[in-house]
Each structure stands twice: as structure tokens, then as C-alpha cells.
């Protein structure tokens, strides 16, 4: 068997991170194909339930990409996302649920390299962490 290939779900905001991902692609940067990007209008529109649903469905990691603080297209969506993810991760910590599987990163439309680096780093971290244990449980 080859090495474990983690599945990562990415919720990328339309205005910054998704454009950053696009730039990484059009600039022909190399990064692991482990991420499945989902374009959302704003990182602030990503409810914790979506992230949990991805994890419960067997994703090994979830990346939320938003505009840098202060740059949100909708003024404050990323600040709200920052609180929401903080709460989600704290809950996961309290329940011993490997909160490192959930990440939020600020990636602007001009940061193709930052996007590629973020995905590479997350892929190698998840590879090290191993498969999401919930994926083998059927009674969830």
C-alpha cells in the first residue's frame, strides 16, 4: 500500500482565497492534489455545521480560506468566521476531537504562493496525523 493520502475539504471565499487558488493554478504552481475546494461567497458564511459534516463524512482535514482581516468584501465576514472557528476548535479541544484537523487561513487574491504553501503544509500535517478516526465508525 502506498502512503496515506489525506482528503482535505477547502471552503474558499469567492473574493480572496478562491482567487488565490486560481492564481496558483494559472501560475502553474505545484501543490498536492489532496484538497477539494468548495467556493463560498465569504468565510463568514461557513457554519461550523458544514465543517463538522465534512469531518463526519470522512474528510481528514478542513481548510477555511478567507480574506485577510480588514479586507473582507463584506466588511466583517472574516472577523465573524474567526470567532466561529475559534469556538469550533475550542469545542473540539474540549471533546478531544483533534482540532488541528480544522484550519482557517487568510489568503488574498494575489497570494497564489501562500495558497499552494498552505495546502502543501496542511497535506503533510494531515498525512502525519493519519486518517480521521471517525471515518471508520458507523454509529455516528
Amino acid at each position: 500500500m502506498g502512503q496515506f493520502e489525506p482528503k482535505i475539504v477547502g471552503f474558499l471565499c469567492n473574493w480572496c482565497s478562491y482567487a488565490g487558488a486560481d492564481l496558483a493554478g494559472t501560475s502553474r504552481m505545484q501543490y498536492p492534489p489532496n484538497i477539494r475546494p468548495i467556493r463560498v461567497m465569504c468565510s463568514g458564511s461557513v457554519d461550523s455545521a458544514y465543517i463538522l459534516r465534512a469531518l463526519l463524512a470522512g474528510a481528514d482535514g478542513v481548510l477555511v480560506g478567507g480574506c485577510h482581516p480588514g479586507d473582507c468584501h463584506y466588511v466583517s465576514g472574516n472577523y465573524k468566521a474567526r470567532r466561529r472557528i475559534t469556538i469550533l476548535k475550542e469545542i473540539m479541544k474540549a471533546l478531544g476531537l483533534e482540532d488541528e484537523r480544522v484550519r482557517i487561513r487568510w489568503i488574498s487574491a494575489s497570494e497564489g504562493k501562500r495558497y499552494a504553501d498552505t495546502v502543501s503544509r496542511m497535506t503533510s500535517d494531515m498525512r502525519e496525523l493519519g486518517p480521521n478516526p471517525v471515518a471508520r465508525l458507523w454509529w455516528t
Binding site: 455545521a49 470567532r83 469556538i87 474540549a94 476531537l97 478516526p133 458507523w138
Partner: protein, 382 residues
């Protein structure tokens, strides 16, 4: 609103008539109605079988005779009732609410969530030693015991608590910290006297109208309260550390929730789950038959109903920062899932991040409703 902390509050000593605290409180409430200080009061009344109580809105003083604000049972949080009453607008006339600490704290959260209005409401907090589950309460009554009496007596003899609901055994808030008025009996000879404290300007006006001088302080009562709070806080911390061990990790946690039948009773009973349209009751979770087969095929086996752990974790993400620890979720669960200890432990930890205490004040903003630009700067940076 001008609110003093409970520990600082001063009050007036009231005499219990005929060694009957329940009736004495009722006649105080009747007095408030008779004098026109209140137009109506919300109080629990035993149903005819006496096996439980229901919340009632009383305008006729005589109808208060049967009320039992001490009955140690909580079928519904009155915060939810107040939200129903004031959802379409503030009460036009002064309405008194007799509430336990957990109910007042939930009401404060609902007001901040814009689900209730405090205008023209007079909160009358009442000391609470805890409540029995609806089932245990009914059992005690059918065995011809008086639950109210046994709880108060048990406390006097120092053996309270072993049959209380798990939420009450670890409750740090026996005394309502927020109330225009507070009816207190902890630390007093409850067959002889009780106290009436004013916690706000409005409360003081009411006491003045009753010609009561609320300037006494009760060091003995404060000592008894802090002792009870300390005991229960210790029990709470023990419960938290036990719970962390028991439920930690996906495997342990998911087996706790595995028997959930997705009835959403916990959500209905929760005073803070206020959404009219819940994501988890939406058609998002209604699948085509082929989708069920596809889901089953992923692992070769699919638990039905699906997405129950997601429901609980999602609900927790939405309300744990506001959780007041009333434990009504657990009381409502037909599958006996020990929800309280998990929600309370998680709530405590999350609230700690924002130094937020649900129900502490109207000014403190709910962490999920606001943000600051200069905070959590490490989040999002590697």
C-alpha cells in the same frame, strides 16, 4: 438597568405565617396584585393530580392560593414562556415573573438574542436548592411524599441533593444574581422567615410601595450561600474531569450519542435554541432513497437515523456559549443520553475563551453576535 450583585444585596426580613413558606410567598404575590404594583404574575401551579406543575399567568389574587413557587420540579424553563409572551412586543402592563436562577439567566440571554423584552417585566427571583426530574417528582408524590418539604428538610439536615437532577447537583447559582426582587430562604429558618431583596431601582420602588425597609444585610445567609456554591462548584469540577475522560475522542463521544433517535426534544426543551427554522430539521437531511443506499455503501453499514452526532455537535456550536446549564435537554431526552455534563463542560470551556458568563448581565455581548478587530490575532496565521 441598575442591578446589584446578589452578594451585595440587602433586603427585608419577612415573617412566615403558619409555618407555611409557600402560602406566605403566595400572599406576598397577591399583595403585589391587590396593590396594583403588578397586573399579572407568572407562577407554577400543581396540576390536579399534584404530580407535576404547570406555568400559569395569574391576574386574580385568589387564583394564587394553589401556586407553589417552591415545587422542586422544572418541566419547562419559564424563560421560554416569557419569550412566547413578549415575542410580538413588550408587555403593556407590569408583569411579575417568579423565576429560578437558571430561568432568569436564560431569559437574559434571550433578551440579548432579541427573543424577549424585559420592558414592564418585574423579575422575582427565588432561591433554588435544585429540582427533581419530572419523573422522580411524580414518583415521590405518588408515594405520598411532599417533594417540596423533603428537599427543604433535607437541606436543613445537610443531606440534600442525592436525588436532584444532575444539572442541579452541580449548579453554582442557587441564588438568582439578577432580579428586580429576590425571595430568599437559604441560610434562614425557612419555617419562620424569609427575606425579600431588591436588586434594582424598580425592586426598591416596589418595596417602598409596600412600606418595607430593605436595608438589612444577612451575613449568615451569605455564608450559607457561599458554602453551598462552593460545594456544588467542587462537584461540578469533579464532574467535568470525569466527563473529559469518559467522552474524549470521536469513538467515545459518538458512542454516547449513538442511541439518539433524532426527536429534537433536547432542542425543543432548550430555552436558548430559539431558531424558528432549524438547519437540522431542514430538508438538507432528507435524502433520496438512492442516496441512503450510497451512504450505506460507503462503510457497508449506515446508522439510522443519520446525522445524529452532527445534530448535537452543530447545536453545541450554536448555543454552547450561551448555555446556562439548566439541564432541560437531558430531562427531555427519551433515550437517557447524559447531555448536561457534556454541554455544561463544553459551554464552560468555550465561555472561558471570551470570559463570558451567560445570564450575568444585559450589557455583556454574546460572543457569537459580535467581534473585535483586534483580537484572536494568532488565528489564521501559522
Amino acid at each position: 438597568m441598575d442591578v446589584k450583585g446578589a452578594a451585595m444585596a440587602r433586603g427585608v426580613l419577612m415573617r412566615v405565617k403558619n409555618r407555611n413558606l409557600r402560602q406566605s410567598i403566595n400572599s406576598l404575590l397577591a399583595d403585589l396584585l391587590n396593590k396594583g404594583l403588578l397586573e399579572a404574575v407568572l407562577v407554577p401551579q400543581p396540576v390536579s393530580s399534584k404530580e407535576s406543575v404547570v406555568q400559569t399567568l395569574v391576574t386574580e389574587p385568589e387564583k394564587l392560593e394553589g401556586a407553589n413557587v417552591l415545587a422542586p420540579v422544572l418541566p419547562v424553563s419559564s424563560a421560554q414562556i416569557v419569550s412566547h409572551i413578549t415575542r410580538l412586543g413588550a408587555s403593556p402592563k407590569p408583569l411579575g415573573l417568579v423565576m429560578r436562577s437558571c430561568e432568569i439567566r436564560a431569559l437574559i440571554e434571550l433578551v440579548k438574542l432579541k427573543q424577549a423584552s424585559l420592558d414592564n417585566l418585574v423579575t422575582i427571583g427565588i432561591d433554588c436548592l435544585g429540582t427533581y426530574s419530572v419523573r422522580d417528582y411524580a414518583d415521590m408524590v405518588s408515594r405520598k411524599e411532599d417533594p417540596t418539604h423533603s428537599l427543604l428538610e433535607g437541606v436543613k439536615e445537610g443531606e440534600e441533593g442525592s436525588y436532584l437532577r444532575p444539572a442541579c447537583r452541580v449548579c453554582e447559582h442557587s441564588v438568582p444574581a439578577f432580579g428586580d426582587l429576590t425571595v430568599g430562604f437559604i441560610g434562614l429558618e425557612w419555617e419562620e422567615k424569609f427575606i425579600l431583596e431588591a436588586g434594582s431601582q424598580r425592586g426598591e420602588e416596589i418595596l417602598a410601595a409596600l412600606h418595607l425597609d430593605s436595608s438589612q444585610s444577612f451575613p449568615q445567609r451569605e455564608k450559607a450561600i457561599s458554602q453551598l456554591t462552593q460545594e456544588r462548584t467542587n462537584k461540578r469540577d469533579e464532574l467535568f474531569s470525569r466527563t473529559r475522560k469518559e467522552i474524549s475522542g470521536w469513538e467515545n463521544l459518538s458512542s454516547v450519542f449513538a442511541t439518539c433517535i433524532n426527536c429534537h426534544n433536547c432542542m425543543t426543551a432548550c430555552p436558548l435554541c430559539y431558531c424558528k427554522e432549524c438547519f437540522f430539521s431542514s430538508s438538507t437531511f432528507e435524502f433520496e432513497p438512492s442516496k441512503y443506499l450510497q451512504l450505506a455503501d460507503r462503510k457497508g453499514i449506515l446508522k439510522m437515523p443519520t446525522d445524529t452526532l452532527l445534530f448535537h455537535l452543530g447545536r453545541m456550536n450554536h448555543m454552547a456559549v450561551c448555555c446556562v446549564g439548566c439541564g432541560l435537554c437531558e430531562q427531555a431526552c427519551p433515550s437517557n443520553i447524559a447531555l448536561l455534563k457534556i454541554f455544561k463542560m463544553v459551554g464552560h470551556q468555550v465561555q472561558g475563551v471570551f470570559k463570558y458568563v451567560p445570564g450575568r448581565s444585559l450589557e455583556e455581548e454574546i460572543p457569537l453576535a459580535v467581534f473585535k478587530e483586534d483580537e484572536l490575532e494568532k488565528v489564521g496565521e501559522e
